[in-house]
């Protein structure tokens, strides 16, 4: 049964399935997030995406003790449990999460125009705060992602606020429209706007692995992969996924490693073999600073104070 003008919605035990002509998505309840994003038969999710708060300590962060002052965000990046999930069909929130036995009231031909599922994550910081990540699936398969960090006074400054996904196999190249090179809020005046293609996922070879590879002010990025983990998918060939701005440009990095993997290495050769892509879409990025590497802070305009709300909004789009 094809649904060319409606989303097929499967209200099932443990997850919500949303499908269309050439895509199918699974939104988990136990694994709180988008467990599966299959387009043209190719899986894009390795584990459920998470809110991200930590960047691998830069030399300037270490020198200014920012990594110590903001260490709570390292834990938040590692474990921020989901504390609430809400589903809305065609813009109407369901009164309760449709888990068993409520799922028994549905059928095999439920449809919708839009499906929104919102996950609320709570940080293990003291005090705690929450992040809402809302996925809205449109008929053509586009997923609008709106992620909100709720400001909380008495927390240290954030290293970054964003959304992090990991692909099952590496990204072989990515093309984006934005600024040239690796940029940060306090280091992007010299960049040129344009469309750039990057082969592989280069890690900037700073002597000690650290935060790197951020691309500020991006309007879209298209990721290309050539392999999958699916044993039955013998010749997957190049296939793509596109991330576009929703209401304003976003910032992103596409690297083979999580911030914690980078954090843990003292040299590049200690980083694991490249197996996946880690894509961070960051709504808020702290500057890198530059006055010195033994105490001076990043300039105030490029801090991320914790008492403000931050948004990370973007769209995941199918590439024909």
């Amino acid at each position: 049964m094809d649904y060319t003008n409606k989303l097929h919605v499967i209200f099932d035990d443990g997850m919500l399935g949303v499908g269309g002509a050439n895509f199918h998505y699974l939104f988990g309840y136990e694994r709180a997030g988008i467990e599966s994003l299959v387009v043209d038969g190719h899986e894009w999710m390795y584990r459920v995406p998470q809110p991200t708060f930590w960047r691998a300590t830069t030399d300037n962060d270490r020198g200014s003790r920012f990594n110590i002052k903001s260490a709570q965000w390292l834990a938040a990046d590692y474990v921020s449990p989901c504390v609430n999930i809400q589903v809305a069909i065609d813009g109407q929130p369901l009164p309760e999460l449709p888990i068993a036995p409520l799922t028994n009231q549905y059928t095999d031909h439920d449809t919708a125009t839009t499906v929104t599922i919102t996950y609320t994550y709570q940080t293990p910081t003291v005090p705690a705060t929450t992040v809402d990540v809302a996925y809205t699936v449109l008929i053509d398969g586009t997923i609008e992602v709106r992620s909100t960090y709720h400001g909380q006074a008495d927390l240290p400054q954030l290293p970054v606020f964003g959304w992090r996904m990991q692909t099952p196999t590496p990204v072989t190249e990515f093309t984006y429209h934005g600024l040239s090179g690796e940029t940060y809020p306090d280091r992007m005046a010299g960049a040129s706007e344009g469309t750039y293609t990057i082969t592989g996922m280069p890690v900037t070879p700073y002597l000690v692995p650290q935060e790197n590879g951020m691309h500020m002010q991006t309007s879209w990025v298209e990721l290309t992969r050539e392999t999958t983990l699916n044993n039955a998918d013998l010749q997957p060939g190049p296939f793509k996924l596109r991330i576009s701005s929703l209401d304003q440009p976003f910032n992103f990095s596409c690297l083979p490693y999580t911030s914690l993997e980078l954090e843990n290495a003292t040299h590049h050769e200690e980083l694991p073999p490249v197996r996946r892509a880690v894509i961070v879409i960051a709504g808020a990025v702290r500057g890198v600073g530059g006055i010195d590497s033994w105490g001076s802070d990043v300039e105030r305009a490029y801090h991320l104070p914790a008492d403000q709300d931050y948004q990370t909004n973007f769209k995941l789009e199918l590439v024909p």
Binding site: T58, D59, N60, G63, S180, G181, E182, T183, Y184, P185, D186, R187, M188, A189, G190, A191, S192, T204, P205, Y206, L207, V208, Q210, E211, N212, H267, H268, E269, G287, V288, G289, G290, I291, D292, S293, W294, S296, V298, E299, Y302
Partner: protein
């Protein structure tokens, strides 16, 4: 005279039989040789030498310089090169602290606490590695009966030289040329040259630069044959009037033979002869400064060089021809404390540059310099500080030709004697105001000046780095001002001793001062132009906020810009035994302790000269005031 090990521990012995420092001009036997660039008066001794390494002075092969010594146990080493990078001695990177920290208790001679240590602490030092170098050579036939010198362009850190078993001389100051007269000991046919290099001496107190600590003959070694009449020293005076655009030119020579006649020509870039002259024997080899009309000035955008050619004749015979580039430019500080070059405000878009190659350490190659200049030009870098020692001579010549403004720094840093765990604590600072250290430091200033004085690229003499301040550094400043009215002096460390402020440094110089604090100085009726001799510490993912400094350029004419720290990461590329990957290693990666780990990874380019991502930001901001 016999060599004495005790010199290692005496700061007042730093050059024995070493020839006086002189200008670095090239000289040829004839015009034809000069035009062909074929210098038959120079013979390189670079290459493979016999070598024995000793971990301590006590274990060194005493007498190895004797022709009869049995050197069966010797191996070989490549010259120029670092001993540590050829497998003989442990690699170590350490910043402020001295490399013997926690291992050998030392305090400098002359300080109040000096009597607490062995007076032969270096001669007896169990950390004082020794390299015994031996090399045979034969002189070309046409050098017979001529005066022959040997020139070491750089040796870390104390060196004794013998020829055919005779002691020739001793030198310190690792980063300037050391030249000796070999003539009395030369013999027909085979000659045996021996050099003993100690890693430490009292010079180590003066060379506490933030860098990998190496030892050895790490720059070129040449034999030099003097013509029968030879210009040993040349001082060019090329003055430029920014109002009238007129130049004045003169030169002073030192000759080995007062019977010689020297004719001189100064040629403009278009081939026109704009000045000429000839000495006679009554003239004392001086061409007085004379007006030569309108000239094209030298600057970054138009590094216009005039060509001076000196021809030395004995009777009718030409015995020596000297080419010397000449640049006309005028550096000054206005009464409003604005730095100017040729009547225009000068903004320094600079970098600090260590000499570095990730395989060869500080024994860099000519191609490395060319690559660096290409990167300078691509990224609007117009100035370089030679941190914190004089560079290879070729670098100054290249900066002349490429229009790169130079802050030429002495080989001096005593950081660990006055700053401890971040605090200013000068209880045993050298050189301070100590007479024991005065001559060694003045000699470093004198050598830097005498060797490099003819380079138009050098606009500023820098007295050294992070050495606190006292009478000795004030005397160095005075030396430069006495000998050179065409350049400015620079020193940052006087900020800790404001009582010397009127006697040290034409600049108000600071390092890593935050933009707001720089602005506070600039707003308070500045009496000296402000320069950041180091700023924008480019360590790892950094160089954010350059715009805040750029704003000062626009708003304050007394802000003269600065030198980013620094140009190139100091790291060593090796093959990782676990993964087989080619990887960069840094301090501590060689089991070296105490180490300052990755702290020398603060270049705008990685150690393999690939630009860091921040370079586009530098290109942009430096391009705004190029």
């Amino acid at each position: 005279m016999e060599a004495q090990l005790a010199w290692l521990d005496d700061p007042q012995v730093f050059r024995v039989n070493q020839l006086p420092a002189h200008s670095d001009h090239q000289f040829f036997a004839s015009t034809a040789a000069m035009e062909a660039g074929d210098n038959e008066l120079v013979q390189s001794l670079n290459g493979t030498w016999e070598f024995a390494f000793a971990p301590t002075p006590a274990q060194r092969p005493v007498g190895f310089w004797e022709p009869t010594f049995n050197r069966a146990g010797f191996t070989t080493i490549t010259v120029p090169g670092e001993i540590e990078l050829q497998g003989f001695s442990q690699i170590n990177y350490i910043n402020t602290l001295y490399p013997w920290a926690g291992k050998t208790y030392r305090r400098p001679v002359g300080t109040a606490v000096a009597d607490q240590v062995d007076p032969a602490t270096f001669a007896n030092g169990n950390d004082n590695t020794v390299g015994a170098y031996v090399r045979h050579f034969e002189l070309p036939n046409h050098w017979a009966d001529r005066e022959v010198h040997i020139m070491f362009e750089g040796v870390e850190r104390a060196m004794y030289v013998w020829l055919n078993g005779h002691f020739v001389g001793y030198a310190e100051d690792s980063f300037t040329p050391s030249e000796f007269d070999l003539t009395p000991y030369l013999q027909p046919g085979d000659n045996l040259l021996a050099v003993e290099v100690f890693k430490h001496s009292t010079a180590s107190w003066l060379e506490d630069q933030d860098m990998f600590r190496f030892s050895g003959i790490f720059r070129d070694v040449n034999l030099v044959c003097l013509p029968t009449a030879h210009v040993t020293d040349l001082k060019v005076e090329a003055l430029y009037d920014p109002v009238t655009h007129e130049g004045q030119f003169g030169a002073t020579l030192q000759l080995t033979n007062d019977q010689a006649v020297v004719s001189a020509q100064l040629t403009a870039p278009d081939g026109t002869i704009v000045w000429d002259g000839q000495t006679d024997q009554s003239q004392d080899f001086k061409f007085p400064v004379t007006e030569i009309g309108v000239v094209q000035a030298w600057d970054h955008h138009h590094p216009t060089l005039y060509q001076l050619t000196l021809t030395v004749q004995m009777g009718a015979k030409t015995v020596e021809v000297i080419p010397q580039v000449v640049g006309f430019r005028h550096v000054e500080i206005t009464p409003e404390a604005v730095l100017q070059l040729n009547g225009q405000r000068l903004v320094i878009n600079g970098v600090n540059r260590h000499e570095w190659n990730c395989h060869r350490g500080r024994a860099i190659e000519y191609q490395d310099m060319l690559t660096d200049l290409e990167l300078f030009h691509q990224n609007n870098i117009n100035a370089v500080r030679t941190c914190h020692y004089p560079d290879q001579l070729a670098w100054y010549d290249l900066c002349d030709r490429h229009g790169i403004y130079m802050m030429a720094e002495n080989n001096l840093e005593t950081h660990g004697t006055w700053q401890k765990m971040g605090a200013v604590e000068p209880s045993y600072n050298v050189p301070g105001s100590l007479n024991e250290w005065l001559e060694a430091c003045l000699d470093r200033a004198r050598t830097n000046y005498e060797v490099l004085k003819n380079h138009p690229a050098i606009l500023f003499w820098s007295l050294g780095n992070e050495s606190y301040a006292g009478e000795v550094i004030a005397a160095m400043d005075q030396f430069y001002h006495t000998h050179d009215q065409t350049r400015l002096t620079h020193y940052e460390g006087v900020c800790y001793t404001p009582e010397y402020r009127d006697r040290i440094s034409d600049f108000e110089s600071r390092m890593y001062l935050a933009p707001d604090d720089v602005e506070a100085y600039l707003q308070n009726q500045p009496d000296k132009p402000f320069v950041e001799c180091e700023y924008m510490h480019s360590m790892g993912n950094s160089v954010g906020g350059l715009g805040s400094y750029n704003r000062l350029v626009d708003e304050y004419p007394q802000y003269a810009g600065g030198f980013i720290w620094d140009f190139i990461d100091q790291a060593l590329e090796i093959t990782d035994p676990v993964t087989g990957q080619s990887v960069m290693r840094y301090g501590g990666d060689f089991d070296d302790r105490h180490a300052d780990y990755e702290f020398a990874g603060d270049g705008l380019v990685f150690a393999n000269r690939q630009p860091k991502p921040a370079m586009q930001e530098v290109r942009y901001y430096y391009g705004l005031h190029e």
